[in-house]
């Protein structure tokens, strides 16, 4: 504490009656609240708080249920396991039906091999072998047939 502040701790310092009276007038509360008024206010407050608030309760329930549903959805999507497939595989799975080039009822690497040989030798090609639908039958279609052959959904 500095020397200048010490004057505020001096309790015996003389204060005139007039100043004391003025200060009291300035800072004293303007009278007391009657006990009856206090009780009325308290009763009204309790009565209001005791009333059910259906809208707020409903909102709370709705928020809780929504949060729970969101958490369940996120949890399920996170723990579904490694079931991801690349877009090329999805594309290829759509074309699996047409990938049976040799028409023996199953798709294997020999279908891709036969299609590749047909393209190289300029042999006969069927329109349905345009697996990617780009209007040409080329190496991209061969790749799609080969990818269909090694797709893991086969023979699981």
């Amino acid at each position: 504490m500095t020397e200048n502040n010490r004057q505020f701790d001096d309790l015996d310092r003389h204060v005139s009656d007039r100043l004391r009276q003025d200060l009291r007038g300035l800072f004293e509360p303007p009278g007391t609240v009657p006990a009856r008024a206090d009780k009325i206010i308290l009763d009204q407050a309790l009565q209001r708080l005791a009333q059910p608030r259906p809208l707020i309760i409903r909102l709370r329930w709705a928020a809780g249920i929504a949060a729970a549903a969101a958490v369940v959805t996120v949890g399920v999507s996170l723990y579904q396991g490694p079931n991801h497939q690349s877009s090329i595989v999805n594309h290829q799975s759509v074309a699996v039906g047409r990938a049976d080039v040799d028409a023996n009822g199953r798709v294997d690497i020999l279908d891709a091999f036969q299609l590749a040989r047909s393209i190289e030798t300029r042999g006969p090609v069927a329109p349905q072998w345009d697996l990617n639908g780009d209007g040409r039958i080329d190496k991209d279609d061969v790749n799609l047939v080969a990818l269909a052959a090694v797709h893991l959904d086969k023979g699981a």
Binding site: W61, L110, F113, V150, G155
Partner: protein, 154 residues
Amino acid sequence: MKAKVIGLLVTLSIVAPLLAGASGRMSKEPVEGRVRFAPVHVYLDSGDKPLAAYQFELRARAGQIKIVGVEGGAHPAFQEAPYYDPAALMNDRIIIAAFNTGRDLPHGRTRIATIHLQILGDAEPQYELKLIVAADPDGQKIPADLNLQTGESK
């Protein structure tokens, strides 16, 4: 009271999927044990016939593996990475295939692919190897023997 019920519901919703996921993983993963990486070399013997196309399937019969990569074979005709489903990566089963329409093709026993694996746990995995098809340059199926070799040496 109702706030507690909501809190309980939310907690259950968080904990239940976590527990379900954990139990699902625990059945696949070892509780303890090391993780190591090892290659598996796959050889095909087509005898005196030239090999123009092949397709096989490999899966783990015992032990826990994850496929992390696939590379081509020894002969120039099959040196490029073969075809496989990308979904096989980090899985324990894969179908691999390749073909070559050229005339320079391997005969006899040749390494057709190498599969890189992550092996979980100390147990040595047991593999099941199934030849789906092997063919000559005319696309005709040929008999062939398929086997594998583990270890770094090819």
